[in-house]
Amino acid sequence: MKLELGYVFIKDIQFAEVSKVENGTLYVSKEEVRKIILEDQNFISAEVELAKPGESIRIMPVKDVIEPRVKVDGPGGIFPGMVNKVETVGSGKTNVLKGAAVVTTGKIVGFQEGIIDMTGTGSEYTPFSKLNNLVLVCEPKEGLKQHEHEKALRFAGYKVALYLGELARSLTPDETETFETLSVTEGIKAYPELPRVAYVLMLQSQGLMHDTYVYGVDAKQSLTTMLYPTEIMDGAIVSGNCVSACDKNTTYHHLNNPVVHDLFAEHGKTLNFVGVIITNENVYLADKERSSNWSAKLAEFLGLDGVLISQEGFGNPDTDLIMNCKKIETKGIKTVIITDEYAGRDGSSQSLADADASADAVVTGGNANQVIELPALDKVIGYSKVADIIAGGFDGSLHADGSITAELQVITGATNEMGFNKLSAR
């Protein structure tokens, strides 16, 4: 399966009468976007705002971040099984508005999640501060149930992202990149000397605001299975996970999965990137056993030499992570796990809720309990008064001047467990 990604670089975003992309600027018709959101009668009003890199803007509470893409050649459309028909995607050509994103915000439940600061200390911890963001603030109708609100907001994000992506359909990309995955037998013939490596991508799947969808299927209802890596680039996996801002994988993370990207970069050089095994993180312990059994079985079946495993979320996924690691290692396949840590505010506590001696190669996205100070910014998009009751915030987090003292976990993407982070330590 072969996919060409065409990057149309976006350096600025502005409101205009007519939506278009011209000379690296994304012009957006506010009215058109509002109309798309309000097609859903669950919303009574919608505000559309811009947030650009370096501006004194805080966005909170963030639910999802989505990159605008459009399928210009090949079967299917972006977000198959969700918005477009359930065609197998991942081949042909896809254009990307690189440097732009749609950010959804909203108070689905009383306790809150997720800050993106466009400048200052906080901006260094989130990759989304470097994007030209179109932020949606959607007001639900009275009495809308949390499940319906979550779904409506998620779909508003997809629809607006597809609307913007469509603007890139007939554009000539500034840069293109091609990704190809051979069949198992072709891969063995092409790279007989190279180690066979796959990626085990763990998906959050535990209930309201903790879900992930694959071709429209709730991941908790699926057995462990396989995807071509390029299917993910066309939106085969989308996020309905609104909890644990710092280490949830937004839809943007899935589309731009850095493990997939880096494995492709080494493909045919130092390793043979065989494919992606997707597995869930269910609440039931028997489900955890079954899903990790299948991860290990597929890894063995594919004749792998090595596996990278990334997890999503806090607490019980540590158990899935260790089960996957241990069972795959038992098959004689080397593993590297990618996680983050809740090591206490001083970093001295046990980082994960589970452990095993076979987990001897670990990459960390950072300590989510680390306390940070976020300065007051000129403008807040979304709902500013929720800082005290935001995950990682505490009584008194929000100071009178608008500054915030909180744990790193308040920031969207700060300790991402795919390794999609900007900061590193030596």
């Binding site: 009383g110 644990s244 312990l285």
Partner: protein, 120 residues
């Protein structure tokens, strides 16, 4: 058997499942579960289900086996690690003056996470 301190779970399922309702906090649910595991019950759901941190939500529901046998060491390791994780978070100050609306939302999330296990 469901061990819970969430009255929404209790009210919804009291006629369908054997429920051990705990009039206490998150930690009390963990300790009761640990004691049951010591008696030979098997842990069926992960005590740290949901990504909401244990120093944020006051509510927790855990499913264990209805019947007891020999002590299950996997269950024991998971519950002990969960108690360690709970204590780590509980040592860190958080907001706990929740409004009624937020309390109800925490109960709802705990319920849906539990139901994701009951329905599989």
């Amino acid at each position: 058997m469901i061990i819970t301190n969430n009255n929404t779970v209790y009210e919804k399922y009291k006629n369908d499942y054997n429920i051990n309702f705990i009039n206490g906090g998150f930690k009390d649910v963990l300790i009761t579960t640990r004691d049951k595991i010591h008696e030979g019950y098997e842990l069926l759901t992960h005590p740290l289900s949901s990504s909401i941190k244990p120093n944020e939500t006051p509510y927790k529901s855990i499913i264990i086996s209805d019947n007891k046998g020999n002590i299950n060491y996997n269950s024991l390791i998971i519950i002990e690690n969960s108690i360690i994780a709970y204590d780590k978070f509980n040592n860190m100050k958080v907001y706990n003056n929740y409004s009624e609306k937020i309390i109800e939302d925490f109960k709802l999330i705990d319920l849906t996470v539990l139901e994701s296990a009951l329905n599989t």
